[in-house]
């Protein structure tokens, strides 16, 4: 009989044979961009998440069942991410959600998660206002730009002896947020802001922007950009013959970034919540298993996926069942020992307590030069 049902579902062309065995696994839904301009970073999140699930299932799963990760492509857009969540909730009947990478997409799925009363954990979206919306089902296991700026502005201003700083950011809420937070904190420390410019996602040529940068004569350049835009930008800063010190936020402490940027990456500084060279025993174990599985060292986003999945699954285990309220209560009491410190949540669902690091790229390796636990926002 079961086979008959399964067969007819398959004939209907649905991806639903999974639901025939719903009672055998605990499902966690994941919405990440798998196509589009940040697909590359989205894929890293998925890789980290898959590793976490594999490890937990190898250790016997949770509540005596295996964890099943159901992944949907949200393309980083609000509309597609909402569709993906509807599908995960209605059809796959997931117990919890992880996603959706871009802050704008996450903001769109938060009310949907609340409507269906499904806990939602993001490991990436860093726009500060997300945790200010009073959504009790939302938890952010990630840094915000304000927290990073607060943690590193002083070290940067002193170590790099910054007096005149130019700010360049990708033209979205994340890039604008990063530029605003860092320029506020660095200005307060006496570094003058001489230029603020934004560029669109997917821009390849920055010579015009850099011409303006050269005319502004900064001694430091702050950049908020992801792997692809950031690597081309940093390369072209050197191609223009500029020798200002480059620092910023984004997924820079990764092998791919360094490989794409080449020698231009030498000496740049990145403030990141995670680097594979972090010096903690838990991190060394994590790097080893990640490298064994994917043949590349984990970066910021691989770690984000890994942590978000572990936090979610451990909360389900502590809740003792898949009841949404129980999971939510368990998430609020999170004390997760990550490769990069210990994650806890504030009442608003903002993570704190984990370590963030400032790295300098030296000899093609991200070298940690400062590490500090991220405090709870006041």
């Amino acid at each position: 009989m079961k086979r008959l049902v399964l067969g007819s579902l398959l004939l209907a062309g649905a991806a639903a044979p999974l639901s025939a065995q719903a009672q055998d696994t605990i499902k966690i839904g994941m919405v990440e961009p798998l196509t589009g301009s940040v697909a590359y970073n989205g894929k890293s999140v998925v890789e980290g998440a898959k590793l976490a699930v594999e490890e937990m299932n190898a250790a016997g799963g949770i509540l005596g069942k295996k964890i099943e990760l159901v992944i949907e492509d949200g393309q980083c857009t609000p509309a597609n991410s909402v569709n993906a969540v509807e599908k995960l909730v209605q059809k796959d009947k997931v117990a919890a959600l992880v996603g959706a990478f871009c802050s704008s997409a996450t903001a769109a799925i938060m009310p949907v998660a609340q409507k269906y009363k499904i806990p939602l954990v993001t490991g990436v979206s860093s726009q500060a206002s997300l945790t200010e919306q009073g959504n009790p089902y939302f938890f952010r296991a990630a840094e915000t730009d304000a927290l990073m700026a607060k943690a590193f502005a002083k070290i940067l201003a002193n170590d790099l002896k910054l007096t005149k700083v130019a700010y360049i950011g990708v033209n979205d809420d994340w890039g604008r947020g990063g530029v605003e937070e860092f320029s506020r904190d660095l200005s307060a420390l006496g570094a003058k802001s001489v230029l603020t410019e934004y560029f669109d996602h997917g821009t390849t040529d920055f010579f015009t922007l850099l011409t303006k940068l050269r005319a502004a004569k900064p001694d430091g350049v702050f950049v908020a950009a992801e792997t692809q835009d950031g690597s081309i930008l940093v390369k072209q800063i050197r191609e223009m013959g500029l020798d200002a010190k480059v620092f910023g936020v984004g997924s820079w402490a990764t092998a791919d970034f360094i490989n794409l940027t080449g020698s231009a990456a030498e000496g740049i500084h990145a403030a990141v919540p995670y680097a594979s060279s972090m010096d903690a025993p838990r991190n060394q174990t994590f790097v080893k298993s990640y490298e064994a599985k994917y043949r590349v060292k984990p970066g910021k986003y691989g770690a984000a996926g890994y942590n978000a999945l572990n936090i979610t699954a451990q909360a389900i285990a502590r809740a003792g069942n898949t009841d949404a309220e129980a999971i939510r209560a368990a998430l609020a009491k999170t004390q997760y020992e990550a490769p990069n410190g210990v994650y806890r949540f504030t009442e608003k669902g903002q993570a704190y307590g984990f370590d963030a690091v400032l790295v300098r790229i030296e000899g093609g390796q991200p070298k940690v030069i400062a590490s500090t636990p991220v405090d709870a926002p006041h």
């Binding site: 798998l34 196509t35 410019e197 922007l209 011409t211 692809q228 191609e239 223009m240």
Partner: protein, 292 residues
């Protein structure tokens, strides 16, 4: 100082203009001459970059041998696409071709994502990177080489169309396919050869520019858009128009970005297209207008 700034913006604009003209060349042939509204143009460009990465990184070829190999491979690919796909919708108006090439572009992007993944890839450059100064103006050797190769490709394509028997056959076929085939021209081959040439030019520009920026599965959309802008600005099927359209777009973007804001620079192309459609809908250099 202000003059220095102006000269650097102008140089940036001219370099970008040649790059735009180069990346739009293939579309000038396929859209401008063959009248196939080719939405897969950006994906041919992308495939050029990705195969360029493959031949330089995996097969270890130097840049120019790699470029030759990519040209041969993409010409064969273009020929096959025309014979097996475009052939089926020829002479049925523009809509079936639009649907076909949209489908083809979706297929090519996703096939590439499946095979090589979404990561940006580095195409080994022809010469070393690093700045080069002419007084206050900074460029790079790689950019100068790319501009040189770009101009050579544009001139080469122009000569093929204007000076060779194949070129004469192409022009005859697109003016009047019936008369051309009555005169003994194998029009099927001419269509396929034109499509293959357009596909190759798109791929070569993809590899050339991939060595300056990076190659990635999802770059196609933006390239298609900018190329349509260039072709519409310059006029359908005109090489001089593609160059003029490319330069106009590049310089306009550079000055807009330089003196207004870099955050909205992609708007410039569309404003130009709207203006040209209002005041000179046949484009700056149209060869169709004379016939229409």
């Amino acid at each position: 100082m202000d003059l220095d700034l102006f000269l650097q913006f102008l140089t940036n604009g001219v370099v970008m203009g040649v790059f735009y003209a180069l990346s739009a060349l293939g579309l000038t042939l396929i859209f401008g001459l063959m009248r196939v509204v080719n939405f897969a143009h950006g994906e041919f460009y992308m495939l050029g970059g990705v195969t360029g990465w493959f031949v330089t990184s995996y097969l270890g070829l130097d840049f120019f041998s790699g470029l030759a190999l990519v040209a041969v491979a993409m010409a064969a690919f273009g020929w096959l696409v025309d014979r097996f796909l475009i052939e089926r919708v020829r002479g049925q108006g523009e809509e079936p071709g639009i649907l076909l090439t949209i489908g083809l572009s979706i297929f090519l992007v996703n096939a590439t994502l499946l095979v090589v993944g979404p990561a940006p890839m580095k195409v080994a450059g022809a010469v070393s990177e690093g700045p080069l100064f002419f007084g206050p103006i900074a460029v790079t050797k790689l950019r100068l080489v790319a501009v040189g190769v770009g101009i050579a490709l544009i001139a080469g394509a122009h000569l093929i169309i204007r000076r060779t028997r194949l070129g004469a056959a192409m022009r005859a076929t697109f003016q009047d396919p019936m008369a051309a085939s009555l005169a003994g021209i194998r029009t099927g081959n001419v269509y396929a050869a034109t499509f293959a040439l357009g596909c190759t030019l798109a791929a070569l520009s993809g590899m050339l520019l991939g060595s300056i920026y990076s190659a990635q599965a999802s770059v196609g959309g933006l390239i298609s858009l900018k190329s349509f802008v260039v072709v519409i600005l310059g006029g359908m099927g005109s090489f001089a128009g593609a160059i003029a359209g490319g330069l106009l777009l590049g310089v306009a973007e550079a000055f807009w970005g330089g003196y207004v804001a870099t955050g909205m620079v992609d708007v410039v192309g569309f404003v130009l297209v709207i203006l040209i459609l209002l005041f000179r809908p046949q484009g700056l250099f149209s060869i169709r207008a004379e016939r229409a």
